[in-house]
């Protein structure tokens, strides 16, 4: 048994444990921390596939930004210990059956059996040329995605601004009447 396999099993076990703990943790803050750990575990799996760029992006975007945003949002909430809810057996069995079917059918599909090769060293260059090459690359989908994300961002800002402005107008109005 080589080291790589041992490490793979250790990292996978930790990642799966964290993924389960995200759901099972009593406190939402702990859930978020487990989520961060799970992202780090996935990043390590990427590194084992030589996809270092993906791993760095995984850490930067998911563990670094998304989790921190979630933690930030949790900090605004009240600290309360959640009560443990009892899982009902029929619900659980139903979910398990669906999940099993889902995984079973996917595993029958041909693309599932594809084992990822170790990506070439210097995969930053590879990803860059894949994304931005005009002939063979994915320039158009990439740009469309960026436009969609930009639209979502502008929309979010618009919604936020409207609410804030409304409140300000209201406050100004009430203060005006008091005077």
């Amino acid at each position: 048994m080589n080291f790589e396999l041992i490490f793979f099993f250790i990292i996978s076990l930790i990642t799966i444990f964290c993924a389960v703990s995200v759901i099972k943790a009593r406190e939402i803050f702990h859930s978020a921390l487990y989520l961060a750990m799970m992202f780090l575990g996935i990043a390590s799996l990427f590194i084992m596939l030589n996809a270092e760029f993906l791993a760095a992006i995984q850490v930067l975007v998911y563990a670094g930004a998304v989790t921190i945003l979630i933690l930030f949002a949790i900090m605004f909430t009240k600290k309360e210990r959640a009560r443990a809810e009892k899982e009902s057996l029929p619900k659980l069995t139903l979910v398990s059956i669906f999940l099993f079917n889902f995984i079973f059918f996917i595993s029958q599909a041909s693309w599932w059996n594809y084992v990822p090769d170790k990506i070439m060293v210097g995969s930053v260059r590879l990803i860059g040329s894949l994304l931005f090459d005009f002939q063979e690359g994915y320039v158009l989908p990439f740009e469309i995605i960026s436009v969609v994300i930009l639209a979502a961002m502008i929309g979010a800002v618009f919604v936020a601004i409207k609410k804030g402005v409304k409140k300000e107008i209201k406050r100004d109005a009430t203060e005006g009447t008091k005077r």
């Binding site: 080291f3 406190e27 803050f29 702990h30 921390l33 961060a36 270092e52 760029f53 760095a56 992006i57 850490v59 930067l60 563990a63 670094g64 930004a65 989790t67 921190i68 945003l69 933690l71 930030f72 949790i74 900090m75 600290k79 060293v121 210097g122 930053v124």
Partner: protein, 342 residues
């Protein structure tokens, strides 16, 4: 000879190599931190016309060791209503994420633990994680001051990470590689401070903010929040948090030297050094690197002794409204110039 060969064989084992690298990094950073705590107190004392530490050892040089002994022997206090596992783990996590970026920073030619081909990206990514430790400390203590400190830390790191990354992109465009060694080697003739002055300015301000030093030390501003996120910590845990903060500073400054000040290159002396052989040039280059680091660190301390703390609203405003547009402009100018020159 056989013994040396065996030793070299053991050294080539990746596990042994990484263990030695980890021990080396932690030792190097810890020694620097111990010296820095002394230097900072002494320097700021001199600025404020005081003596500073002068009792333990010559010039008070043993003061950090005395402080360490004090902190180790102190009682370990955990608040009753604290979130215990989070409270206990926070300092360790903070220390870990402060040390990790150092793995990919070259101290001299060949003196690097792991020359990743995504070096800069790795450093930025891992450095962004240290906020999690501050949030853990702030939330785990179950105290409104620590919580406020933690929230400020998040706001700060979220808004200053973007200009920090954007300011580096100019350099990456120049070099065409993310590897730290290649970035330093590209500065053999001219440092990036001169090629990327705008980028450097943005990086400098954003790095100070990410380090959480005055004038951007809002997560622990003692006049408003007692001591911010580490209010409830004492003894060894407090020491570990403090250590993490100083390590943050050392790593950020080392990154600054490697990215903008030519790493181990000096205009005339480097040609002399490259003609030598053996282990001597490595030591000399590391020496140059460390001297450069300490010059920047002294400037940072000077800033701390001079400037007042700014408000949190001003701070977030500077991040979003000033630094990010400037950094984007820098990227635009850099790429434009490079395309025109081609």
């Amino acid at each position: 000879m056989d013994i040396i060969e065996i030793i070299m064989g053991i050294l080539k084992n990746p596990l042994v190599k990484s263990a030695i690298g980890a021990i080396g990094i932690i030792t190097f950073l810890s020694l620097n931190v111990l010296f820095l705590t002394w230097l900072e107190r002494k320097l700021i004392a001199r600025v404020q016309i005081r003596y500073g530490p002068n009792r333990a050892g010559k010039f008070g040089l043993l003061q950090p060791i005395a402080d360490g002994a004090k902190l180790i022997t102190k009682e370990d206090i955990i608040p009753k209503k604290a979130d215990k596992p989070v409270f206990i783990l926070a300092p360790a996590v903070g220390f870990l994420f402060a040390v990790l970026p150092a793995v990919s920073i070259p101290l001299a030619g060949g003196l690097i633990v792991s020359d990743l081909n995504i070096g800069v990206l790795y450093i930025v990514a891992v450095a962004s994680l240290s906020t999690i430790a501050i949030i853990m400390a702030g939330w785990g203590s179950n105290n409104k001051y620590t919580l406020l400190g933690g929230m400020r830390a998040v706001g700060q790191s979220l808004s200053y990470e973007i200009p920090l990354v954007l300011s580096i992109i100019g350099i990456i465009i120049f070099v065409g590689s993310l590897s730290m060694t290649e970035i330093v080697d590209a500065q053999k003739n001219i440092w990036f401070v001169f090629l990327q002055p705008i980028g450097f300015l943005v990086f400098f301000v954003a790095a100070i903010a990410e380090m959480g030093r005055i004038p951007f030390d809002l997560p622990e501003s003692e006049s408003e929040l007692v001591a911010g996120f580490h209010t409830e910590y004492s003894g060894m845990r407090f020491a570990l948090l403090l250590f993490a903060e100083y390590i943050h500073m050392v790593v950020a400054v080392a990154l600054m030297v490697a990215l903008f000040f030519g790493g181990w290159y000096l205009p005339v002396i480097s040609t002399f050094i490259s003609s030598m052989s053996g282990i001597v040039p490595v030591i000399l280059e590391a020496g140059i690197f460390i001297v450069k680091m300490y010059i920047i660190i002294v400037i940072l301390m000077w800033i701390r002794a001079t400037l007042p703390r700014i408000k949190i609203t001003q701070m977030i405003g500077i991040g979003w409204k000033v630094l990010i547009p400037i950094a984007l402009l820098n990227i635009l100018i850099t790429s434009f110039v490079l395309v025109v020159l081609k």
